[in-house]
Amino acid sequence: MIPSWNKQVMAILILSGTVIIFGVLADIELIFVVMIFSFSISMLIIYTGKKGDFSIKYSLPQTVNVNDILDVTVSVEVTRGIGMFNFYLPVYKEMEIRDGTNVHMIFKGFRKRKVSYTYKIEAMRRGVFSWKEIVVEYSPIFGKGGRFVRKIEIPQKIYVLPKISIVKRTQIQLRSKTFVPRFSYAMIGPDTNDFETIREYSPGDSYKKINWKASARNFSKNQLMVNVYEKEGLKTYLFLLDVSFSMLKGTTFENPLEYAIPFILSASNYLLSKNNSVGYFQLSGNNLKNLEYYLPSTGSNVFEQIRKRLLLVEGRPITRDSENLIDRRIINTVIQSRPKILILTNIDKLNLRRIRNIAGRLRSFGGDLTIIDIRYEGIIASRMGEGAELIYKKVENNKYGNLKVLSWDPYEESLGRFLLRTAKSSGW
């Protein structure tokens, strides 16, 4: 911080040395004062050129919701050294400082200094983030050595949870406006022990359900047969989240993907409260990793598990090779439990064909499908002003074909309202 200081002091010492020589030649006794003055300054240089030392305590939040404004408090005690301490306090990706600053300086003189810094940050986007380290830079005002830059790692992470909308059962009209068959596939839940029929084996069926005697009888067809049991009355809901780049249109903090996540969580919260079975999958090819799906299940833990997975979702490119591929676990789930499927996507010209292909295949396996098209024009328009809709022309509604599509513009309709509309439309 103060690299010129040493040179300046050296220049003063050289000058005083020269003057003392002048003084000696001029036979002036009192020039001695200048000599002692310079000597004292140089002694102080040696004395104050100490190594700096400090201690830091911090209090950082660990779990917050999106758009929460939180306090970060860091206490600093500077115990040794004479000079300038610069502190670069922790921040993380996808946050904004709302009040105060995370860079501070302390001039440490002869006395100890103890300071507490607080600044407010706003969590802008859901996710799991690492706090960056605290960086401390010390520059002594005097002395040649002692300058350092020290980094203090912060082991803890911050979990930014998406905000959800709590929907009460009484808010949702009991009778759906659309016709829902009494024994639709969506009414079908997990297996009971009551035998119903025998059918041909299809990929995804449990091996335990294979009826070996019936398979032997159909030996000539070279086809395995499985037992079908009656299902419980619970519904199974499957959320399929498109993570292609079409979902990232808008801004980093506001795009269809960021709106889809609180929708899934809010809907899951409601459906689980009605003891439904809820599952979640990413629509990103056929080889999903552990944290990219959650098989349909009921219970209090399901919401946490789905939320944990949604925190980590990021957009990714979908290649031509994988655009029509569906993970086998999705197909198995559709075959086994005939779920009500909600695909959350942003239908544009780029992915219309892909979504139609996927929807067609899922339907062929028996899924009852609804597509939620999260429109982004409102997001863009809010940033760019009027006329943005003309620039970003969407697929016309009549191009959806035979797809059952619910269109949602988050800027026109709140999450809670859209959730109610979806619930009514889909007969939850």
Binding site: M1, K7, L15, V19, K50, V103, I141
Partner: protein, 204 residues
């Protein structure tokens, strides 16, 4: 202490020296040296103030401020001692005032220390105010830095004057050779011990 007050104190101290310098002039050479010294002093003040607003490197510093004390030194050299006798030039300063003026000569040195601090704090302020630091905090910390420099300068000045007083008084006390040696050795040992203890702390 406000850094502007730091600059003001340093200028006032130097002006005191210049006033007495002017009053002691006894020849045209003295006037020439005085004008040159004052000229570089004014230039150094302007340079130090403008440096606050320059986007210059922290490693660079103004060398102009180190020039003006040299002219006063030359005036001393030509007014008293062996060189003035050999050269035969009329003394720029009245030889009877040389001793007193040399005592005030410490003020330009205080000016150099304080103005260096002023320049440094100005540069730090300039750089940090564009790096997200709070302006109030920069001001408070730079004031602490300035106050610290004045404190150091005062300690040094006090030490020099006490030493001078000590040297004036000691001969009149007639303490004798042995006590004088003991006194010298004890001061010497104290300084050495302090120096080495400081070294040990640094190694820790």
């Amino acid at each position: 202490m406000n850094r502007n007050i730091l600059l003001l104190i340093s200028i006032v101290l130097s002006l005191i020296f210049f006033i007495f310098f002017y009053l002691s002039i006894s020849s045209p050479v003295g006037y020439l040296l005085f004008v040159l010294s004052l000229f570089f002093f004014v230039i150094s003040i302007i340079d130090s103030i403008t440096m606050n607003y320059k986007k210059s490197d922290l490693r660079k510093f103004s060398i102009v401020k180190f020039i003006f004390p040299l002219f006063s030194g030359v005036a001393f050299l030509m007014s008293s001692g062996i060189i003035s006798k050999i050269s035969g030039i009329s003394p720029p300063i009245d030889p009877t005032d040389v001793n007193f003026l040399s005592l005030l000569y410490v003020f330009p040195f205080i000016y150099l220390i304080l103005v260096s601090g002023y320049e440094t704090s100005g540069k730090i302020k300039f750089l940090t105010s564009r790096s997200g630091y709070e302006e109030d905090e920069i001001r408070i910390e730079m004031d602490a830095f300035s106050g610290h420099l004045i404190f150091i300068a005062l300690i040094s000045l006090g030490t020099s004057l006490l030493s001078l007083l000590f040297l004036i008084l000691i001969p009149s006390l007639n303490i004798g050779l042995i006590p004088a040696l003991i006194l010298f050795l004890s001061v010497y040992l104290m300084a050495i011990i302090l120096f080495f203890r400081r070294g040990e702390i640094d190694e820790d």
